[in-house]
């Protein structure tokens, strides 16, 4: 009983982080089950699991919205940031611990709202994008969508204020900006974007509920509104949102690559100031690439084709830093590193297949097809998820003081990696070859892809096995794994200098950072 009370009323950043992890992994399991249901439905032409397209659309809504809002953003900016930022900068906690606790419980309420989808008689069927006019005329419950987004968005804004303050004011003595872990920079970039853009998303989703329930006409062209206003507001946030996910997951990868290669981050300053900040700056100028076939002015589409292509510069610099970190390293292949390298491959495929989508004249064909679905699952969905898993494995001994099973870790990895490639490569392939549209309950108009659809459904089962193994490995490891040492990977980073798991307050006395220390100061062996 008192244990429960301790967790519910905790303000310790590590516990808040773990609460975020539990909540987001639970959300992931639910959204993953939705993916399996969708794949089952799509395994053959015609109705297979359900004869009602709306049921499928609700699964798709739940899958997309929960994966992004309930899983990836909270796992990265909630769990990883909470657990690691104070430890990495040598602080005893975040600047506003109570606000932090408030934010995690807001997030839980958001997840509960999202889960109400499966309980109420009129679940939202507006997909995660909620475009009007459909979202304002559907009999589905658009308000639930609005309030889920608002709650989780609000949680995220609170966290943003908290973490930017923490990083600015609570760094250990001697911890200069250029000694911050790359991960810390990625979280700064991520929260800067959240603070700028989430309010815009909040506005957009609030206005559709105003239109639907209160009789306003922001998006109704019959009375002077404009349907495109919503799309512009929505993507003005939601493009940066992919970088809100992207930056921290690259941050985790960078930490893992450095630790398991025993090397400094290659060209650190360029990765931080060119890569990370370059992305933050360009992120707000490319949203039109989601409106390439929405009748936006032709010159605007061309203009943002160029800005979108320019994203390749900061992303390219970061990729060079990741690969370069391996150079002259002392590389070992424990589970976190395996995930790290696997993610690098997935992210490379996903990033490069995004280049055709930046080109508006190619997108008039590719847009809204399975090519897009394949691409963003590579670059964000699976790469992000595998990076989160890499992070959980990496910090597992720190969080629990115990060790997971390496063998099962690796088996889980290979299932996931292989399954992901089977599904998402096939998606891109059918998308380009046949133009199979996304968000289709039934592919009756495309009988030529029946075999591929079946193969993808098998791939989904392979992934599901991988995820199940991984989850069990964590649970069993946390319950009765062997004891882990305080710094099993031999990392130089500050979070490994305290005991595992760290006590409340993190260090008996605040760490002081030496002049010649940095989180990657490995010595040649």
């Amino acid at each position: 009983m008192s244990v429960i009370k301790e967790w519910v009323f905790t303000t310790d950043h590590k516990r808040v982080g773990i609460l975020y992890l539990i909540g987001s992994v639970a959300a992931f399991v639910v959204a993953g089950i939705m993916a399996l249901l969708m794949r089952a439905e799509l395994s053959a032409i015609g109705p297979t699991l359900t004869a009602n397209p709306t049921t499928y659309n609700v699964w798709l809504y739940a899958h997309g919205a929960i994966m992004i809002l309930g899983f990836q953003i909270p796992a990265l900016t909630g769990f990883a940031a909470n657990y690691c930022i104070p430890l990495m900068i040598g602080a005893k906690d975040v600047a506003f611990p109570r606000l932090n606790a408030f934010s995690v419980w807001l997030f839980y309420m958001g997840v509960i709202l999202a889960l109400l989808t499966f309980v109420i008689p009129d679940p939202p069927d507006v997909l995660w994008t909620g475009y009007p006019p459909y979202s304002t005329i559907t009999t589905g419950n658009t308000a639930l969508y609005t309030f889920t987004v608002l709650l989780i968005g609000f949680a995220s804004i609170i966290a943003g204020v908290n973490f930017l303050t923490t990083i600015a004011y609570m760094r250990a003595q001697g911890m200069t900006w250029n000694k911050l872990n790359f991960f810390v920079w990625s979280i700064i970039g991520s929260f800067v974007m959240q603070l700028i853009y989430v309010p815009v998303l909040g506005t957009a989703v609030l206005l559709i509920s105003f239109d639907k329930y209160l009789g306003t006409n922001f998006f109704d062209p019959t009375i002077g509104g404009d349907v495109l206003t919503y799309q512009n507001l929505f993507w003005f946030y939601s493009h940066p949102a992919v970088y809100v996910i992207f930056l921290p997951f690259i941050g985790i990868l960078m930490e893992i690559l450095a630790t398991f290669a025993k090397n400094p981050v290659f060209n650190y300053k360029v990765a931080v100031y060119g890569g990370c900040w370059g992305i933050v700056i360009i992120s707000g100028e490319v949203w039109i690439h989601h409106l390439y076939v929405s009748g936006m002015p032709d010159w605007l589409r061309i203009g943002q084709m160029v800005t979108t292509l320019l994203i390749s510069v900061p992303v390219g610099l970061i990729t060079i830093s990741m690969v370069g970190t391996l150079y002259k390293g002392s590389i070992t292949f424990e589970t976190p590193m395996l995930y790290g390298l696997g993610t690098l491959v997935l992210f490379l495929i996903g990033g490069l297949t995004g280049i055709p989508l930046a080109v508006t004249s190619l997108t008039v064909n590719l847009s809204e097809t399975y090519y897009v679905v394949g691409h963003f699952h590579y670059v964000m969905a699976v790469a992000g998820t595998m990076a989160i898993f890499a992070g959980v494995y990496y910090w597992f001994p720190k969080m629990t003081g115990k060790m997971y099973s390496e063998l099962w870790g690796k088996i889980g990895f290979w299932f996931t990696f292989v399954g992901a490639n089977v599904i998402f490569w096939t998606m891109m392939d059918v998308g380009v070859r046949t133009g199979l549209p996304r968000r289709y309950y039934d592919f009756a108009a495309f009988p030529q892809v029946a075999n591929e659809q079946y193969i993808m459904s098998v791939g989904a089962i392979i992934i599901a096995i991988g995820f199940t193994i991984t989850l069990l490995n964590w649970i069993i490891g946390a319950a009765r794994g062997p004891k882990a040492s305080d710094n099993p990977w031999g990392s130089m980073s500050l979070e490994w200098t305290t005991v595992s798991p760290p006590p409340h307050g993190n260090w008996p006395k605040p760490p002081v950072v030496a002049e010649d220390w940095n989180p990657y100061a490995y010595t040649k062996r």
């Binding site: 062209p221 690969v323 064909n365």
Partner: protein, 267 residues
């Protein structure tokens, strides 16, 4: 005059107010026109550009993948080799490692952008010698209106060898008129006019399908483009036009749907 008759028709259809607003705008939308008489097929251009970009990203991917695999293999910890603790880059090397890749990426970006822009101009500039058809989408059908007022649903008959321009709007939610074989789509939405064009060169049938989530039956919103030999098309077009004229002429002894129309006119 043509615009006028379209306008009248829309007023009688559902969602009258929306279309009253959309009607005049329909005719006004500026569409860049190509009077050179030379027609470039945008679908073929798409194939070429796709191949170019695919080669481009494959080269980049192979470079990064090979570099990664090589480094992972070469610097793995093993008996007799212990690396790690690499020196941070010298300032010169750090600058070189950022400026040179930046220029390479920029050069590649502009190369792709230039090619993309060229094709874009083809895709958005419609040959002057064209057949213009109006499209109104609705849950869940594609309704085409030909210059002579003939209307079809989910079946777009066109002559081979003539560029086809679709001027599009929607009477309810947003739809997207996608022609996979012609590598083009564009959304149709209420309150706005959009357009796309394609160039059917040989007789045959092609799929039309919806690529913007528009409601429950989204995945069933399919139709087809039927490309006819020009003579056959002309015969069909004129015949349908005649039928329409006859149907529109007031004939007191003819029943069916007309009384309603007459009532409206006399009112």
């Amino acid at each position: 005059m043509k615009g006028g008759s379209m306008f009248k028709h829309w007023k009688s259809s559902a969602g009258a107010a929306a279309l009253a607003a959309a009607g005049p705008a329909f005719a006004e939308k500026y569409i860049p026109s190509n009077d050179s008489g030379k027609i470039v097929d945008p679908a073929a251009g798409w194939e070429r550009l796709w191949t170019t970009v695919l080669i481009d990203i494959t080269i980049l991917g192979v470079i990064f993948a090979v570099a990664t695999l090589f480094l992972v293999w070469k610097y793995r910890r093993r008996p007799g080799y212990e690396g790690g603790g690499a020196k941070p880059l010298s300032t010169g090397a750090a600058v070189a490692w950022s400026v040179i890749p930046t220029f390479i990426f920029l050069a590649d970006d502009f190369y792709i952008a230039a090619n993309g822009w060229q094709l874009w101009n083809v895709q958005r500039t419609v040959p002057a010698d064209r057949l213009e058809i109006k499209l109104e989408s609705g849950m869940y059908s594609w309704d085409y209106t030909y210059p002579n007022g003939v209307r079809t649903q989910n079946e777009l008959k066109v002559p081979a060898g003539k560029p086809i321009l679709l001027r599009m709007t929607s009477r309810d939610t947003i739809h997207s008129h996608y022609l996979p074989d012609f590598k083009v789509k564009e959304d149709s939405m209420p309150g706005r006019i959009t357009y796309l064009w394609f160039y059917p060169q040989k007789p045959g049938e092609h799929l039309v399908t919806c690529t913007e989530y528009c409601g429950v039956m989204h995945s069933y919103m399919a139709g087809k483009v039927i490309v006819l030999p020009p003579a056959e098309y002309k015969a069909w077009y004129e015949q349908e036009g005649e039928k329409l004229k006859k149907a529109e002429a007031p004939e007191p002894n003819h029943g069916g749907a007309k009384p309603a129309a007459q009532k409206r006119k006399s009112a």
